[in-house]
Amino acid sequence: MFDLDAAIRQWRRSLRSQPAFEDGDIEELEDHFRSKIDELLNEGLSPKKAFDQVIKEDYPNLELLDRQFNDERKLKSTAFSMFRNFIKVGLRSIQKHRTYSTINIVGLTVGFACVFGIIIYLQQELSYDQYHENGKDIYRANLHFIRASGEIHYPIIPPAFGPEIKSNLAEIKAATRLRYAYPIIMRHEQQSFFEQRVFFAENEFLQMFSFPLLQGNVDDVLKAPNTIVITEEMSKKYFGEVSPMGQIINYNNEIDLQVVGILKDIPINSHLDFDFLISFNTFKVGPGGLEPLTSWRWLGFLTYLQLHEGANLADVTQKATDLFMANNNSASNRKVDVELQPLNNIYLGSGDISNPMGGLFRINDAENLKSLAIVAVLIIVIAFFNYFNILAALMYTRTKEIGVRKILGSSRLRIVKQMLVETCLVVIISGVLSLGLVWLVSGLGYLPAMSSQAIVWVLLLMLGLCLSFGMINGLYLGTSLASQGILSLLRNNLVVKNARFSLRKVVLLVQYGISAALIMISFIVVNQLSYWNKKDLGYDQEGIMVAGFRGDDVQNKKEAFRNVLNGNSMVSSITFGPALDGSASGSPLRPKEWPEEEVVQTAYFGVDYDFDKVIGLEVLEGRFFDRAIASDSVNAILINETLAERLDLENPIGKRVEFAGMADAMIIGIFKDFHHQSLHHEIAPMALEMWLGPPRNVLVKFNAGVDMTQAIRSVATNWQEAFPDGDFPLEYKMLTEQISGLYSQEQDFATLLRVFTGLAIFVAILGMYGFSAVSAHLKIKQICIRRVLGAELNQVAKVVSKDFLLLSFLASLLAVPVVYWLMDQWLNRFAYRAPVGPEYFVIAIVLVTVITALTLAIQVRKVMQVRPARLLRNE
């Protein structure tokens, strides 16, 4: 039966290969054509006759029309029209090979988008602290202690250092100190909030750094005591639309502070992060404080120096060290250096520097950034190889078209140009789509906002990628097609070298290898993270709530709250003490029997009774603090195993030491080592003392098996009873959360790595799918003949998948040693690393092979659905 519509569709397609016809022209002609046929049909002709007659009459007309259209357009620049023709034919070819074009475009788009995403992220990470006008002359003064137990770089230093170095060294243009405030309550009228990002700062701070003031005078803000500068965001939070200037904010129910300036919000790419700056001279050393503000021993202040331009850094550093050694009398017995760390280097270069308070300033690990950059490069490689592979395979399906072109007199150059335009088109479409994708993702907040600098980088890179991808592939394809003889093109008999080591096989090998490596790497990183989360820290974390305990008169409320909670049936025990967020105080410890100058630097917690019960601390020798023994609250300490080992005292219990302001403390117990810091660090010498001053945190341990939500709600109710006026909000965290927060850097890295690995693998699978589809398509005749001759499914599967499975397996094997070496380097930076067993490698290899097999199975299924008789009849 003659299908008129199908015939017309075919006729229409033949028009599309004439470059001069625009899409609109073709539709108009189709209408014309159909009108003519309709008329003949009305006259009673059969559809086939009508069609044939119109075709016969029209054929010369169409050719003429083509020429006419062409002549019309020749009036314009010929180079332009040629280029337009290339694009038109290119777009049509993209449409014709719809499946492969989609695979190519999706693969390239995802690949490009990953790379752009990584670049935007890297750009943000590299832009930290780059916007300060005096930036290149600003340094942070760190102390570098060299001890037998190891080296420590400390970024918080004594308060006397800043002013003294400014008045002593001519090279110092300015020095400014920052003192962190412990998280406190800020109140304006009835509104109060718990605030964590508060510093005491000198006027020089705002002069040295370029944190612009929206209101207030940078020359004299923060000079007067009891004044405060707040950020725009805080202004909205506390004052709404009302101007905060001159208004009062109360600090911790202690001091009224007058707002004297509004800062522009601190950008995300700043290593210092704060919402409030209180004038430095408001800061008072509280009662019971160990040292005055003229101290050379109190490690508690960030100090930034601005050098005069051209000052000799090595010189200044030496003089600063000399100054420190001359004043710090306890330093005579150990080696201490002052280090000046350039501002630009703080964010990424502080890996060795301790970051007190569980993260006083923002840092990131330059190694992680490098890894991400490598992942970006790998993704580019995968995306490129994918595209290359599919194109190279597709080439065999386009031989006829090229052969006809050659007969029609297309020069080699023209064919190469055509292929170039086609590949560039695909790449550019993908580039634009990926930009859109990145824009979308960043708009949704999953990526940093694109800075203008990032946009320039991305655009430049896109241009480069488009040019190189399009050029290389187009040239390769064009030249290899153009060099084939017309006859072999028409017969579809390309001279195919089926060498054992063809370029295509190498490309596939690399691609499989990279995919396998990425899978292995993410396994190992995730494994390390879960190891950290699961490792026994030496104390209990489960079912413990940590809440800030601050505000007015906490000292008196402490016992009342303890009594209320003791009546709560869900609570097993309660104590006041450290937040266990990785921070601790530090002090030298000297047994009385040791010579005067010998000490062990020791971290310590000030704890309360029952601390041992709450966190399940094991006392190995001696005992924990006891309410019944009055002297425990005055001069008793417990030490950990590591410290006991370091002290190496005979019968340590009962020994007298100098420690943390106590001239005559007694060791009453030795407790089992526990990790008070993250597992990046090894266990250090540590001690516990009684702290009966105002507490900072309350730790509540719930009974085993209680419903956590209910338990927390009951504590919240108790809290309401204890603090009915509501100006002291309950801010809590579960200890497990708090601890996993210590690994947030690695967690972020793992998340990024997982996302990008997933996407890279997706791209690789797409490519593999496309490539195997083309190659199955090419082998279709062979397969059909085999099937006619009685081949079964398994034999067909073998033909289709022969090369691929072996290649994927080999590639994954090759990836193993590379990944092992790389990850060994990464893991070696941590004090506690998870063992890397062979299972991760095996799983990755199996995964890659299974994915390959599944992709191939789809192809085999498709091939099996072809009816051999039908296909072979066509030949």
Partner: protein
């Protein structure tokens, strides 16, 4: 069938005249011209469509796609005000030529009315 040059010269005024009686599409224009000329002017696609497109570009006519009831798309052309002005000029040129020839060949022209 008239000579190529004459056809070329007459296409534009004929198209504009046909369209001045109402909008129309390519195939129907060809048919109408064929009927009016009693089959003596039989245009083919290459004679018509490039000219239509050119006139469209020059702004003498406009084109618009319509969807027919059976779902097919058809491109309709209509004369513009500018086209009508151009037609007046063309008409005058042709009338001048025809009047001259009529006198030379001593023919009586019907419908001669300016």
């Amino acid at each position: 069938m008239s000579s190529k040059e004459l056809t070329g010269a007459s296409t534009i005024p004929i198209i504009l005249s046909v369209l001045s009686t109402g909008e129309n599409y390519g195939y129907a224009i060809i048919k109408q011209v064929k009927e009016l000329s009693q089959g003596k002017l039989e245009w083919s696609e290459p004679m018509l469509y490039p000219v239509l497109h050119r006139l469209d570009k020059q702004g003498l006519i406009t084109a618009e796609w319509r969807v027919l009831e059976n779902g097919r798309k058809r491109k309709y052309y209509a004369i513009t005000a500018e086209g009508r002005a151009a037609l007046v000029d063309k008409k005058q040129e042709w009338l001048d030529v025809m009047a001259t020839m009529g006198q030379l060949w001593n023919l009586k022209l019907t419908g001669y009315d300016v």
